[in-house]
């Protein structure tokens, strides 16, 4: 089943922030990780990911730096910033509200 575009777009920021909270990462690895975590249900395209990363960087939620990869290439890594962590907490709460509300209504449906 495909997740709708709107949902993918809406969940991009919290997912990226949550991944970067664990460790610094780069574009290709982020896409792979999201694919893993969602059991192949959410597959991001590069055309979508990099602009989001750059926007988050502009909003000062994350920052980037260049470092050598294992293969010795220069690679652009992203790191979460203090304000990014705050934003992540905020997003978590918002998603919980939505999640709880949905869960309750769906429970009511199945109860009635």
């Amino acid at each position: 089943m495909n997740v709708s575009k709107d949902l993918i777009a809406a969940s991009a920021t919290p997912l990226i922030l949550a991944i970067l909270k664990d460790y610094d990462s780069y574009g290709y690895a982020i896409i792979k990780r999201v694919k893993e975590m969602s059991e192949n249900q959410i597959i991001w395209t590069e055309g979508m990911l990099y602009p989001v990363l750059h926007r988050l960087e502009e909003q000062l939620l994350i920052e980037s730096y260049w470092d050598k990869s294992e293969a010795g290439r220069q690679r652009k890594y992203y790191r979460i910033k203090e304000s990014g962590l705050t934003e992540l907490e905020l997003q978590k709460k918002q998603w919980e509200i939505v999640h709880n509300a949905l869960a309750r209504t769906w429970n009511e449906e199945s109860n009635s």
Binding site: Y28, E46, G47, Y50, H54, W66, Q74, R75, K76
Partner: protein, 453 residues
């Protein structure tokens, strides 16, 4: 034979040419592509399969750059304010900016030094003294040369050579006397900057000054620097006029002050900033001169072809005055510029395209027109005797003609698949010697031949 590296390079070149992406963005995407390819190869695919699939997954270039464009709306001008990615580049960048500021101040101050000894910039009539016009290049170009010498970490020997050439040239042209009507002196004024600019070119290219790649970069640099210089100078003029008018409104005349300080220091700063900008952000900047060349080369071709047809039909041969010959020199120089900047943006690996044929048509038309003009001028030259101006104009014409004829010949060979495109580039970059020698002859030897008249 499938070469993965070449393929990846041409993919990122394509991205560079078609999207408004910054260098860092392209680098990031290229890395992404490589990661994807490595993973696919690890699962057992061959490099060419892996490449095809990865490119397909990354999606089409237009779509990517369109997505990126939403984020970087101010991209082009933002790029020019250079955001280096790592700290070393940042340090170097800071050093370059410091150099630009210091050199601009030094160059401006150098203009003012003669004034301290009572030798002002303007004479009694408010005209700029001939001394300053003649020596104009010595006030700015040595600093640009020094900027590149520092940037390229040149050896002491190179410094000494370049400095030596500048000093020698300055001494020679100032020691030479000049008698009425100053023909050779005026020729020197026009040719010396070109000669010295080629010297600056040697410092720009640095160690690989004999290779055609470095020289082609210098040709590119020249075109871009010209366009940027005009833009930056226009900015300085706007600032000048604005200040003038706004102070006039409160009845204070600042013209003298502005002309003596803002224009001099602003002019020097404009030159150095231009050099810095063009050097700092090659990839964004690279786009300008080739685009202008591509817009105008078909238009020039139409005009010139029309001119040729009308000339043949009416039977009016060009009336050969010196001024017209200079006009034809300009035509050749323009055609050369157009052809050159189309070539400079061209990927050597790509096959011949429409613009290559347009270039050849443009060159051939120019050659025919110039051939007609030249036959007329040589006839008149022999009839009315040689003057320095006629000889200089003629020499320029022949130098440009030789350059274009060589290009046309190589283009034809290239279309017949006799040579590589690289041979054209080599011809063009080697030909810089001819200009170097010719400008040197006109600037330094003409005065002697014509007894400083």
């Amino acid at each position: 034979m499938f070469d993965l590296e070449t393929q990846i390079h041409s993919w990122s070149d394509h991205l560079r040419a078609h999207g408004n992406l910054s260098d860092a963005d392209i680098h990031e995407l290229e890395n992404h592509l490589r990661d994807e390819i490595e993973d696919l190869i690890a699962t057992g695919l061959t490099p060419d399969e892996a490449f095809l699939i990865s490119v397909k997954r990354l999606g089409n270039v237009d779509a990517i750059s369109h997505e990126f464009a939403k984020v970087n709306t101010e991209s082009l001008w933002k790029h020019l304010l250079v955001e280096p990615v790592d700290s070393l580049a940042k340090q170097l960048n800071r050093r370059d900016i410091t150099l630009v500021v210091i050199f601009a101040l030094l160059a401006g101050t150098l203009f003012k030094i003669p004034e301290l000894f009572g030798f002002g910039l303007l004479d009694q009539d408010g005209e700029i003294k001939i001394f300053f016009i003649k020596n104009f290049s010595f006030f700015i170009l040595p600093f640009i040369a020094a900027f590149f010498l520092i940037k390229r970490k040149s050896e002491l020997k190179t410094w000494a050579t370049i400095l030596g050439i500048f000093i020698l040239a300055a001494v020679i042209i100032n020691v030479y006397p000049s008698f009425d009507p100053h023909h050779t002196e005026i020729l020197t004024i026009f040719h010396l900057p070109l000669f010295l600019w080629l010297i600056v070119g040697a410092t720009y290219i640095g160690r690989e000054w004999q290779g055609s790649k470095g020289r082609m970069n210098f040709i590119r640099f020249t075109g871009e620097a010209f366009i940027y210089g005009v833009l930056v100078m226009a900015g300085v003029m706007v600032l000048f006029l604005f200040t003038l008018v706004i102070f006039q409104a409160i009845q204070i005349d600042v013209e003298k002050f502005l002309a003596e300080y803002l224009l001099i220091y602003g002019g020097c700063a404009a030159a150095l900033i231009t050099v810095y900008l063009v050097e700092a952000k090659k990839s964004v900047v690279e786009n300008f001169a080739p685009i202008l060349a591509k817009i105008f080369s078909p238009l020039f071709l139409i005009i010139m072809a029309t001119f040729l047809i009308v000339m043949i039909i009416t039977g009016n041969s060009p009336f050969m005055e010196r001024d017209f010959l200079i006009g034809f020199d300009f035509m050749l120089a323009l055609v050369l510029g157009l052809v050159l900047y189309v070539i400079s943006a061209r990927d050597i690996r790509q096959p011949a395209n429409l613009y290559d044929y347009l270039n050849l048509a443009l060159i051939l038309t120019a050659l025919v027109i110039d051939g007609v003009a030249l036959s007329a001028i040589i006839f008149r030259l022999s009839a009315f005797g040689i003057t320095p101006n006629k000889l200089a104009a003629l020499g320029e014409n022949l130098a440009l003609l030789g350059n274009l004829a060589g290009l046309a010949w190589l283009y034809i060979g290239y279309f017949k698949k006799k040579f590589d495109f690289a041979k054209l580039i080599k011809w063009q970059t080697d030909y810089l010697y001819v200009y170097f020698i010719w400008t040197a002859i006109v600037a330094f030897i003409f005065p002697i031949i014509f007894k400083f008249i």
